[in-house]
Each structure stands twice: as structure tokens, then as C-alpha cells.
């Protein structure tokens, strides 16, 4: 059996052709016009929501398909871990779903790459349905437009161990509210426990700098500025905590999972979390659960940090009207309110926070916490800069660690972190 050169060349082309699909997706996307008929099959991706809210999303999709006959929504859910990597692989491979659950920092690179639909153009008529601040949270410095519908908001509770507070002679009913109070309580806890109980398990993040009152970026969004006097002051205080073991010695390498475990084993007295953690405490550490206190985030600015979730529409979807309609449907006032009644999150739609569900006491602790959180959300700020990438987080974290270890002064460490972040910002274009 023989093979001609022509056949061989054809085989080689057949081999190479699929490989050429491995590169970035081409610009063969759909339209930005969302005014056509709402029809077609679309894919919707959520971020770790299937395990707890499967019936809610199945009902939501059924309602949408009933409202718009001729549409079909395929729901996929991705685990929390590695979500950004999954999106980046899909985006690079041209397989990004039509409607995607995102956060502002995830939407920024997608918008820069032209993969997120500009909703000011495609869905500007819905803008007035949302809180102004929430709508603006998915705008990207350097680009005009808004790149995701705002979805649910949260401030995230701060859990504390009342028993450990009590043992240190602190009043468990008045947990610290500001950073100064936190530092004082933390040093006392460490001293009374002979360095065995730390108050915090994590090094300060960019949000801590924001809540301490540090100006994170310049007004134009072209450079970072968290190395100012206020920033240096915060880091110097954390250094004091670290030296006194009021900040866990393993904080320099901590992950959210590891610090959660430290709190669970009562090695640290305070830890940020989510409403879902309460069930976890109840199951895994019943003794701790009895002593759990819930308070607001620590802040010295009077504003807590607001975490915003969004729903983005892929600019290359083949069914723009259906994708926009579905993204709006998921985030409209009725459905956000319905979701908020299933889990402790808060709607980003205008007026929803004035609903009696978020304002009227019924004597239970749960309602008290919900009303307090809704109240603090009204003047909450999203301190996370939209352009603060994973690489920037690592640069800041590494420099903070050097300062805590005493290898660099807090000022030098923050100067280096700002320099590295500015460089990365420049490379991001």
C-alpha cells in the first residue's frame, strides 16, 4: 500500500486544522442588538450555586422558558475553586457560555478583550431598575460602558468566638467595630492566652486598606496609592499584631480554607465568612456554634465593603436578545427578592432594600442580623478595585509578608507593592 504526497498533505492539514482552534476565539460573534425576538438555546453559568439552590434555579429557568416560548436555557455550575481559571480557559477557547455569573474583577479583563456585552448600549433601558452604585460596579476604568447586570450584594458577616473573648476578659456582646478597637482587643487576647490564641488568621488585603481609610487608587484609575501614610500606619499595626502572635503565625501562607479551619479549631477568635458557614459550624463544631457571635466587618470609614455579583452577557452569543432577556430576568427585582428569601444575600434592585423583609423586626436573631446588614449595605462601598488582578493580589500579599517578618519596613514594602501593581496595571493595557 502506498500513499501519495497529496494524501499525506491532506492528512497533515486535517491534523493541524483542529489545533488552530486552540487559539483565541475569532471575532465572529453575535450582535449587540438585543431588540430582536427572544428565542434560541442559551447556556447559563453560575458560580458554585447548584449544591444549595438547585430547585431555585430550575424553577427560575422554567419560568423564563414559559415566558419566552422558543427559548431553552442550559444551566451549568462551576465550583468556587478555580472559577477564574475556568472562565479564562473558556474565554480563550471560544467556549464561554452565553450568560455568565461574574464579579467586577472577573468582568474587567473580559470587557477589555471585547468578550462582555456593553449593557449601556444593549440593555440601557433597564438601568433605572437597579441601585446606581450597583449598576456602576461593573464599569471598567478606561472603557466606556457597563459590562454586567448587578445581581446580589453582600457585606459578609464577621464571626467571632464569644468564649475566647470572655476568657480574655473582653465583653463578648461588644465586639470590635473599628480597626483601633480590633487592634486593642487582639493584643489583649494574645497576651491573656500567652500567644496561644490569635484574633486574626489573615494578612491585610486591599479591602482592609480601603476600610482603614486608605486611598487605594488615583481618581483616574491609572495608578495605585495605598502606600500613603495611612496605609503604612495600618501595616505597622499589623506588624505589632504579628509580633505579639495576635495575628496567626501561619497567616502569611493562609488561604480562606485554612483560616476557616483555624477558626473551627478555636485557634483564632475572629474570621470573615458567609451565611452558609453557620450550618458548617453547627455540623462540624457544635461547641463552637454555641459560642458564635456575628458582627459587621471591621471598618474605620463607617462604610463596610460590599461584594457585588453580576451576570454578564457574552458579546459573541448567537442569541443576543435571549441572553440579555435571561440575564435581566435573573437579576430583576422579583427574582432577586425571591432569591434573597432563600439565602442571606441582598438585592441590587432599586427599592428592594426598603421591603419589610429587610426593615421589620420579628424578634428573631436572624432577622436582626438581616436588618442590620441591609442597613449597612445602604452606605456600603465596593472597595475592591475592578482592575486589581490576581497577580496584583500576590504582589501585595508578598510585600505585606516581608513587612510582617521584619525583612522590610512597612513603608518600603508598600512602595514596592505599589510599584509592582502599577507595572502590572501598565502591562494589562
Amino acid at each position: 500500500m502506498r500513499i501519495s504526497r497529496r494524501t499525506f498533505a491532506a492528512a497533515a492539514v486535517a491534523l493541524v486544522l483542529p489545533l488552530s482552534a486552540c487559539g483565541s476565539g475569532g471575532d465572529d460573534g453575535g450582535s449587540t442588538d438585543a431588540s430582536g425576538k427572544v428565542e434560541g438555546d442559551i447556556t447559563f453559568q453560575t458560580w458554585n450555586l447548584r449544591a444549595n439552590f438547585k430547585p431555585y434555579f430550575e424553577g427560575l429557568i422554567a419560568d423564563f422558558e414559559k415566558k419566552y416560548p422558543g427559548t431553552r436555557v442550559k444551566w451549568i455550575d462551576q465550583p468556587a475553586e478555580g472559577y477564574a481559571d475556568k472562565i479564562s480557559a473558556d474565554a480563550a477557547g471560544g467556549t464561554l457560555p452565553d450568560v455568565v455569573n461574574v464579579s467586577p474583577d472577573l468582568v474587567a479583563p473580559l470587557a477589555e478583550a471585547g468578550l462582555a456585552l456593553d449593557l449601556d448600549k444593549a440593555a440601557g433601558k433597564y438601568k433605572s431598575e437597579y441601585l446606581d452604585g450597583a449598576w456602576a460596579s461593573h464599569q471598567v476604568p478606561g472603557l466606556s460602558g457597563t459590562y454586567a447586570f448587578p445581581w446580589y450584594l453582600n457585606t459578609g458577616p464577621l464571626f467571632y468566638n464569644k468564649s475566647l473573648f470572655e476568657k480574655a476578659g473582653l465583653d463578648p456582646s461588644t465586639p470590635p467595630k473599628t480597626y483601633d478597637e480590633l487592634f486593642a482587643d487582639a493584643l489583649r487576647l494574645a497576651k491573656k492566652s500567652d500567644g496561644k490564641v490569635a484574633t486574626l488568621a489573615n494578612v491585610p488585603t486591599i479591602e482592609d486598606f480601603g476600610r482603614y481609610g486608605v486611598q487605594l487608587m488615583n481618581k483616574e484609575g491609572t495608578g495605585f496609592g495605598f502606600n500613603d501614610a495611612k496605609g503604612v500606619e495600618l501595616l505597622s499595626k499589623y506588624k505589632e499584631l504579628y509580633d505579639a502572635k495576635a495575628l496567626d503565625p501561619q497567616a502569611l501562607t493562609a488561604t480562606p480554607e485554612s483560616s476557616g479551619k483555624k477558626f473551627l479549631t478555636e485557634a483564632v477568635a475572629m474570621n470573615p465568612g458567609s451565611a452558609l458557614d453557620l450550618g458548617n459550624f453547627k455540623k462540624q463544631a457544635p461547641n463552637l456554634y454555641k459560642n458564635i457571635g456575628i458582627t459587621d466587618q471591621i471598618t474605620s470609614t463607617g462604610h463596610v465593603n460590599m461584594y457585588v455579583m453580576g451576570v454578564m452577557v457574552n458579546s459573541r452569543t448567537k442569541h443576543t436578545p435571549a441572553a440579555v432577556a435571561f440575564a435581566h430576568f435573573v437579576t430583576d427585582a422579583r427574582n432577586q427578592m425571591s432569591f434573597a428569601k432563600k439565602v442571606a444575600i441582598f438585592p441590587s434592585t432599586a427599592g428592594s432594600l426598603d421591603d419589610p423583609y429587610f426593615t421589620k423586626e420579628d424578634g428573631t436573631d436572624e432577622t436582626r442580623v438581616r436588618i442590620a446588614a441591609a442597613q449597612s449595605l445602604k452606605n456600603a462601598v465596593n472597595y475592591t478595585p475592578v482592575l486589581f488582578s490576581e497577580q496584583m493580589k500576590t504582589a501585595l500579599r508578598n510585600e505585606v509578608a516581608k513587612a510582617l517578618q521584619g525583612k522590610e519596613s512597612p513603608k518600603t514594602a508598600l512602595d514596592n507593592a505599589v510599584k509592582a501593581c502599577d507595572q502590572l496595571l501598565k502591562q494589562q493595557g
Partner: protein, 295 residues
């Protein structure tokens, strides 16, 4: 003549068909990614933005990148710490379990168990053991030594990761040595014993020369694996690469730089090319050392 040229123009089909599945797999999953990485290393490509040709800019940048030198130092230290242990300890272990005594199969299996265990599971177990409040520290405290920061001190963290690599690799290299030891003629040992050589002398003059080529193979394999270490350090030091990133290895740096939505694929590719070149040089050095000893 026309018939001859037609024959020349045609290629034999059957060998190509037999080789095709392998060639396609190698082409798609080895050659294409390799060539793509080399090409990308000369561009400023990012995850979602196609790159422009930037010449040697990425390679110049890494020379001034402190984290690159940290990664190179840690990867090199990993070789220094791990390779001698993985060349010698499995050989001693193989000598121990080589003998056919009752119950030895259990020990052979036990030593091999870490090899088949998932590195993630193994890593997490060691993290729990070495934690500030873990079993090891509780024991140390009980005997009065006090708690040791295995997972918070930069050097202890690296040493702990090395210990896990050695522990996990012992069984694998032990099996390679067992195969080599089975080929050492018993007569050589008997002759040496007749000449009055004790166990240590027999080990040095009979066993070691007989398995020398296997030792070179183990050295080559383990040094390449050590230089490319990722999982153990990532699991124990965390994604940030230990305190202030001081335990970052080169492959961790590649992962951290090149992944995510804002990943710098071009720069990460340049780092990968450096890892590849160093790995090839390492292999050549080991083979050259072996050849020199042979002559």
C-alpha cells in the same frame, strides 16, 4: 524511468498508518504545545489578548525579576536536597526488602503505598501533621521541645516539602533498584565473601558498581522531577508560595504568572523555556558524568 519516479513520489502507507495514532497524540499534546510555548515566549501575549512579537524582551525581563531568581534558587535547592536522598535511600530500602523472608511482601507493599496515593491527599495529610497545632507539634511540645513553625518558616517549609517528595518517591525508585539487584550475580557476592569482604565492603565493591547505571538513571529522573516540583510545595506553602513567596519554585511561578484572566502567557512561556533548557542541561550533565566514570 517514469515508473521509477512515480514510485519515488509515493510514500509507503502501512508504517504511517501504524504510527498515526501515536503521531497524532504526540503532535497534538506534545509538539504543538511545545512549539506554541516557544513562539509565545517571544510575544507579549496575555490570556485573552493575542500577543505582538517582542523579541527577547521577556528573557531580559526575567533576568531582573527577583521572583525568577527565588524560583531558580528553590528549584536548584530542591535538586540538592532531594536527589542524593532519592539515589541512596531507595537502594538501601531495596536491599532490605530484597530478602525472601516471611512477611516481606507486606513491607514491600507498605513502602510502595505512598507512590500510588494521590499527591493532593498526601500533601494535605502532611499539612495537618505539620500544622502549628498538628500531631508533630503536639508531640514536640509534649517532650519539651516546643512548637516548630514547619509551615510558617521559609526554610523549614522547603525542607518539609522535600521530605514529602523523598517519602513519596522512595517506593518508586525502590522498585527500580529491586529489578537491578535481581541481575547482580550471586557469585560475585560469594567470591567477595570468600576473599574476606564484610557486608559494607561487599555493598561498596559489588552492589554499587553493579547497579551504577541504575543509580545514574535514578539521579537523572529524580533531578528532572525535583527541578520541576510543583504539587508538594504548592500544597504545603499555599498558592502564594510560602511567606512572601520565598518558597516559590520555577514551575509555580509559571503557573502563577501565566494563568487566570490577566495571565501573562508570553512571560510565563519564557519562564517555561528556561525550565526546559535547564532540564535538558541537567540530563546532559548526568549522562556526561556517567560516561566520564565509565572511561
Amino acid at each position: 524511468m517514469a515508473g521509477v519516479s512515480r514510485v519515488r513520489r509515493q510514500l509507503p502507507t502501512s508504517p504511517w498508518l501504524f504510527a498515526a495514532p501515536g503521531l497524532i497524540v504526540i503532535g497534538a499534546f506534545v509538539l504543538y504545545p511545545f512549539v506554541s510555548t516557544v513562539v509565545n515566549s517571544f510575544t507579549d501575549r496575555r490570556t485573552l489578548i493575542p500577543g505582538r512579537f517582542v523579541g527577547l524582551a521577556n528573557f531580559r525581563e526575567l533576568l531582573h525579576d527577583d521572583m525568577f531568581w527565588t524560583g531558580l534558587r528553590n528549584s536548584t535547592l530542591y535538586i540538592v536536597g532531594v536527589v542524593p536522598a532519592l539515589v541512596i535511600l531507595p537502594l538501601l530500602l531495596a536491599l532490605l526488602v530484597q530478602k525472601n523472608i516471611p512477611g516481606i511482601t507486606f513491607f514491600r507493599s507498605a513502602f510502595y503505598t505512598p507512590v500510588v496515593a494521590s499527591i493532593v491527599v498526601v500533601g494535605l495529610i502532611w499539612v495537618w501533621l505539620l500544622d502549628e497545632r498538628g500531631l508533630v507539634n503536639s508531640l514536640l511540645e509534649a517532650v519539651g521541645i516546643g512548637r516548630v513553625g514547619f509551615l510558617s518558616d521559609q526554610w523549614l517549609l522547603l525542607l518539609s516539602a522535600m521530605a514529602v517528595t523523598v517519602w513519596k518517591g522512595l517506593g518508586y525508585y525502590m522498585i527500580i533498584y529491586l529489578a537491578a539487584l535481581a541481575n547482580v550475580p550471586r557469585e560475585l557476592h560469594e567470591a567477595a565473601a570468600v576473599d574476606g569482604a564484610g557486608p559494607v565492603r561487599r555493598f561498596l565493591t559489588v552492589t554499587v558498581p553493579a547497579v551504577r547505571s541504575t543509580m545514574v538513571l535514578v539521579a537523572a529522573l529524580s533531578s528532572v522531577a525535583a527541578f520541576k516540583v510543583f504539587s508538594e510545595v504548592y500544597l504545603m506553602a499555599g498558592p502564594s508560595g510560602g511567606p512572601a513567596g520565598e518558597d516559590t519554585t520555577l514551575v509555580m511561578l509559571v503557573q502563577r504568572t501565566g494563568t487566570g484572566l490577566t495571565g501573562r502567557v508570553g512571560y510565563a512561556s519564557a519562564l517555561s523555556v528556561v525550565v526546559f533548557v535547564v532540564t535538558v542541561v541537567l540530563m546532559l550533565l548526568v549522562l556526561r558524568a556517567d560516561r566520564r566514570e565509565e572511561t
